[in-house]
Symmetry: C2
Subunit: 343 residues, 2 copies
DNA sequence: GGCGATTTCGTTACCGGTCACGTTCTACCA
DNA sequence: TGGTAGAACGTGACCGGTAACGAAATCGCC
């Protein structure tokens, strides 16, 4: 009413405005905002009143300039609209926000490489405190290594493979469990429908398939890896996968490719799992409702993203602490798409 | 070699450092960086050399403080890991980055409302220049309206419905086309498996279904809307949807619910589309590979997100221009899940 | 060579906070 | 009542850029 200071002064009120109105110095206001106490009740009240009256909001920009902390992180990866990467980002994003950081998510398009370099020098930007990169291709992996920033970088692969991945029966990817499940059912000729070879994840799964077959005393079949993770590519690659003949089970590199493969089988009149068993990888929420419901390996993407982000934040806030992320293990999920081979 | 300034001075070089090394004033460096020209070749060279030598990177923070432009936007929505919202964000994100903005993506959890208020006052933050919100529930819609910020806000609904949505044969949602497709095939008892009623999108689709039925001279059946967009919920709701009896076609509120519904039908020995036709909505990439491939309505989510973002940026940069987004129209996609009703 | 008009450049202030330090006030005790 | 420790508060500088303005250098032309 009185005074005539409009409520919405353009450009917002500063601590100096607040200080003037409260009859104190800007430093006192700053102290109040820092919440450290040490204000006399009278001044505290006046500051609070002025703050409210002017609808003060702090300027993170100015604060950042003074403290050289920005609380900004960046995350990048391919195909962030997919279930896996998407959930990962969601997990990461929640952790970041809870810790007071904001997250710039940069979704790369596999097609255009120019975008990659753009995005990368965006990261070279010195007001980003840390970088999280997910499920990279090797091109991205290399690019990240060449990153000229001293901000910490966390790269999430499908699993942090130990030095000797398959020693001691350790199966970090869960592919062994999948293959073992099939061999236990009696399958011998088990094919692998691989993911795009440029992806580290796809290569890891191919390796794991071959290793698991050898471990079971079986000869791995030539891996068909012409796909791009999509259902379309699974459908297209299906004939080639089945070409060797006598195949009774197929391990697809992910659930979506398995879906495409299954449609092709249906169209050929090949029954699942009576004639051919199909298993996937990822356990997307829809996999339980495929026809038939898909046996697959469950990955808790959200937890993976969250763990990676926790690790990144620890690297920033406590550089001396060892903060390697601990990712949850993949778990085999048995459903109706796998069964004993035909006689 | 000479001089002894280490290449990696902590905290980075400033334009003052560069200016000193180049023997010019900081303002000259600033001018060079602004790219406006007007430097003598000699000075230009010296500045360039110093820039490179010191590995200078500009501080966006300081620039923001001086210009009061932050080039930061925020986007928020539910279930960003889903195909639709995910692609939308991807489209928005690309446009934003191309225009020089960075995008904070905030993924809300439908469960916890506390998160919403947290996120919201994060937006009240005055260094965010604009807000994009997608596919909101009405709770979010209300919350956004109460937002105390003078930054522009763009809210994306499924379609920007005109004043009188169904006049003049206009069908902004594509649901009419879907229903008409079914009636043309001869269906009369067409049910709707609705989305979660709290979602504006779900309500719009329910309305459109009922209106389309009336337009075809048919009585809409009671809508079952107990789902949550998931395949699981489609599966669970299936018996109730089919309960009225004699139903020969079902319009699901989205593809995932259609997937769950179809699994239930398979389990009951009901053939699709021989006994019952099923159609979805969204056209997720996998829909073409369901069994059978799903008739649905295609939405170009990426284009929608991009259009919304362009609109937001226009609102920021040219406040006087009318920048209402123009979204692409949904398109009917015919596949094998719909066919004539049984005799 | 001298003059004015343009370019080119430097000086100073400012954005909105925090930090370091010095001053004032209060409270307690001799 | 005076002295003093410690809390409360204010002053000035600084973070790293940009904006505004005036000074200096350059150019063209007579």
């Amino acid at each position: 009413m009185s005074g005539g200071t409009g409520t919405a002064d353009k450009r917002g009120a500063t601590i100096y405005d607040v200080a003037r109105m409260a009859g104190v110095s800007h430093q006192t206001v700053s102290r109040y905002l820092a919440g450290k106490g040490g204000l006399r009740p009278r001044n505290r009240e006046r500051v609070e009143a002025a703050l409210k009256e002017l609808n003060y909001r702090r300027s993170h920009i100015a604060r950042s300039l003074a403290t050289s902390r920005t609380y900004r992180l960046a995350a990048l990866g391919y195909e962030l609209s997919g279930t896996g990467p998407g959930k990962m980002m969601q997990g990461a994003s929640e952790v970041a926000r809870a810790a007071g950081y904001s997250l710039d998510i940069i979704s790369l398009d596999p097609v255009s490489d120019s975008e990659l370099s753009d995005a990368l020098d965006l990261l070279g930007n010195r007001d980003i405190e840390g970088v999280l990169a997910t499920a990279p291709t090797e091109a991205l992996d290399r690019a990240l290594k060449g990153l000229t920033t001293d901000a910490p970088v966390v790269v999430v692969r499908d699993a942090d493979l130990p030095e000797r991945p398959y020693a001691d029966g350790v199966d970090p990817l869960g592919v062994h469990a999948l293959v073992q499940h099939l061999t236990t059912l009696g399958h011998r000729r088990i094919a692998h429908l691989g993911g795009p070879p440029a992806w580290v994840a796809a290569r890891q799964r191919i390796d794991a398939y071959e290793h698991a077959m050898h471990a079971a005393g079986l000869e791995p079949l030539p891996v068909v890896a012409t796909g791009d993770w999509s259902a379309q590519s699974g459908y297209a690659a299906a004939p080639e996968v089945l070409a060797p003949g006598g195949i009774t089970a197929v391990v697809a590199a992910n659930d979506r490719m398995a879906l495409g493969l299954m449609l092709w089988l249906h169209e050929q009149g090949i029954a699942i799992p009576r004639d051919v068993s199909v298993v996937g990888y990822d356990d997307v929420p829809e996999a339980a409702f495929f026809h038939p419901p898909l046996t697959t390996v469950h990955l808790d993407f959200q937890a993976i993203g969250a763990a990676a982000m926790r690790s990144l934040i620890t690297m920033i806030e406590q550089p001396d602490v060892d903060a390697r992320p601990r990712f949850p293990s993949p778990e085999l999920v048995l459903r109706a798409s796998s069964g004993p081979p035909p006689q």
